[in-house]
């Protein structure tokens, strides 16, 4: 197992290099000159724009800029944000906790809601409960996050006054964003849990368990669900990455600090170093999540071995 993990970690290096190169190229292909953008609020003269471009090294040939960038990366340097003129590492480190908090809370909402809905739908297969769970999943997948968010703010903050509309102060201000984001992800999980559970419930070992006289609750929760969750884990891993994407909108609406907002602003304003830093971080999260999912497989299903 350790050797497998080691091999996977080594394999991550070319992936990260590829991502680093890709984001470098894409950011340069996108229209917009950072120097002109930096002076766009004050309306600098053409000469001022040219001087700033030179001072930022943006008038160097692209291969020179690329070489400098890779060399810095190798030394563990992500550079300095063009706009906030602070180290990218610091900027990301500041915004990361808010996003992780939100993504984990939303994942909890998505996983619990999705599992409960999925189990209900599978166990009450073909009844109105199944239909209701299916409808809820479709609603969850289809409703745009910004709409549910504004609706919840209107209801829970403005009309009922239960929760703060925006900001980041403790658990109370985490509830709405997590609900909104988690609800959107729960649909996919519920559908998968239902399908997977239905399949497992038809398997022989379930009949055996029932024949042993185990209660239906134990059969479903201990025997069927554990086996049904294997494909669900994969999806949850992927959903977690999706959630990180969803934080962009959620963070903006609920005025929460976080990586999502940081990233959108950095792309909009062509803050090369910040975009590169965040994308590298995202690549790292994806590779790690995939690795965790694969390792979790081996734990959940003894038949899977990597050695």
């Amino acid at each position: 197992m350790l050797r497998y993990v080691g091999r996977r970690l080594l394999g991550a290096i070319p992936v990260l290099w590829g991502v680093a190169t890709l984001v470098f190229v894409i950011m340069r292909l996108l229209p917009g000159d950072p120097a002109a953008l930096m002076l766009s609020e004050s309306g600098g003269s053409a000469q001022a724009v040219a001087e700033l471009r030179h001072s930022l090294g943006l008038d160097d040939p692209l291969p020179v800029q690329y070489g400098r960038y890779l060399f810095d990366l190798l030394r563990g340097k992500l550079g300095t944000s063009l706009f906030s003129h602070r180290p990218v590492v610091t900027v990301i480190a500041e915004q990361l906790p808010g996003t992780i908090e939100l993504a984990v809370a939303a994942m909890l909402v998505a996983a619990s809601l999705g599992t409960v809905l999925g189990v209900l739908a599978a166990v009450k297969h073909g009844t109105w409960l199944d239909t209701l769970a299916a409808a809820l999943s479709v609603v969850g997948v289809s409703l745009p996050i910004f709409w549910t968010a504004l609706l919840l703010i209107w209801l829970l903050s403005l009309k009922l006054g239960w929760l703060p509309a925006t900001g980041q102060e403790g658990v109370a201000s985490l509830i709405m964003p997590a609900l909104v984001l988690g609800f959107a992800s729960s649909g996919a999980i519920a559908r998968l849990v239902r399908a997977s559970l239905l399949e497992v419930l038809g398997a022989d070992f379930i009949n055996t368990a029932r024949a042993k006289g185990l209660s239906e609750r134990v059969v479903i929760l201990r025997h069927a669900l554990k086996n049904a969750l294997i494909p669900v884990i994969t999806v949850m891993g992927l959903q977690f990455s999706f959630l990180l994407g969803g934080t962009v909108v959620t963070e903006t609406i609920f005025s929460r600090p976080g990586i999502g907002r940081l990233m959108v602003n950095a792309i909009l304003w062509k803050d090369f170093p910040v975009v590169q830093g965040v994308v590298l971080l995202a690549a790292l999260v994806y590779t790690t999540m995939n690795l965790i999912v694969d390792v979790a497989y081996a734990y959940l299903d003894p038949r899977i071995r990597y050695d």
Binding site: P31, E41, G44, A46, F83, E94, Q95, T252, N265, D271
Partner: protein, 549 residues
Amino acid sequence: MHRLKPHVRFLALTLIPLLTLLTACESTPTAAPTPIPPLPSATPGPTPGGKIIYGLTLAPSGIDPHVDASSELGIPLTSVYDTLIYQDLDGSFVPGLAERWEVSADGLTYTFHLRRDVKFHDGTPFNAQAVQFNLERIANPETRSRKARGMLGPYDHTEIVDEYTVRVHFKQPYAPFLDSASQVYLGMASPTAVQRWGADYQLHQVGTGPFIFQEYVPNDHLTLVRNPEYAWAPEVYDHNGPAYLDEIEFRFYADPAVRALALESGQADVMGEIPPQDATRLEGNQAFTLYKVPIPGQPLQFFFNTEKPPTDDLRVRQALLYATDRQAIVHTIFQDYSPVAHGPLSAVTMGFTPAVEGRYAYDPALAAELLTQAGWTDSDGDGIRDKEGQPLVLQAYLMTWGYLPEVGQMLQAQLRAVGVELQTQTVAFPAAVEAAGKGEHHLAPMVFSGSDPSVLNSTYLSANAEGGFNWSRVRDAELDRLLNEGISTLDPNRRADLYAQAQTRIMDLALVLPVRDYVNLNAAKATVKGLRFDRRGWFPWLHDVYVNK
């Protein structure tokens, strides 16, 4: 959650008055005596104490006023920094950290005589060395200043005459310097703090103003607390001595849709840039006060590309101006909160000339006639004019700010009525800046604010047509002469005359389609009193603000 509600309400009802009492008791004996100006009427006077939450719009990426450029940074920091001089609401300049000043006859030297009783929040004395340090910091190319450097113009160096006298030297006469010196971007920062914190200074800013910069968590909040030693208020403020409020917390509300909600749900006490629809609702509610603050500078406008056919034809550009019903746009989209813009400067800008008013009043018949004269007729009867087989199609770049997509839609319909097809493209800001910079547009929108008419120079000087912000790509010797003379002429009347001529010239050449003068809609709880905004319209004078309980 049902059960939480009474708890929360109970806690709020008991704790808030308790806390206010406690803070009031605490601050009364320690705070320096606060001279309160007598008020003529029986209205309850300002009471020191309390805290407000002030909602800002987008969270600025960087907030060092010497380095960064956003208006948002100036909203809190105008109360952290004092400036050498201040601009009063009537446009006159009054003493600030400088008691008086002289400008040499050749316009190359500004001499400032400084106050002797001023200390930075960290105890560093304010003196000539501090002024020199600040101006040199801004001018240093390593600072990569995005706004302040431009405001220094042809700055050369600062000479220390004695401990409390400085002389600022310019390479060429530079008339806007007093305007620059009265803005937060040229605010005086503690040299000790700047040297101590280096690149992190923006998180630890130290000025001499009525409020002390306490804490800034990027994207989350910025907290200011009262400076108890403040005793050098400029006369633009209503009172001297320490500010009334104990604390101001700034929070960021990037999504316009939640701004009014945050105010109405009690999360914020003051909120900037309220969408016009929400403003109408708040205006009808006695619990809130709406502040409609006009912003000087350039209005919301579309630059016509004078190099790309068919907008290279003066008659076509004039026709587009006559064909636009700006009153309808202002009414429908901006709920009449903004005045119609008539020229390249908004009406509240110093040097605005009323000569441009009514210059291109809505007249679709005249527009049609001009287009026909220019050779554009609808020969194939499809409703769109054409010439030599080419339809009259124009490209406009829109962006997501400033209700531009909505403005674009109305403009499209209005131009269609005179046989012009406007193709709009809503793109991200960088893409629009890139496209307009390269001259790929027929129409490109932009707003630049600024209280001095020299705000015209960056967009109309021919030197800025390549790689700058001269998006109409005009290269007009007469306009160049007027603008270059305007920025270097010190005599205010002569200056006003030069800029009046420049505005008329710009509209004669039909370089822009002005839409509306920018008005910043701020709203506050009715209990928030004494809130006023400076002449730039963006920056509140928080020194005089108090809360009426």
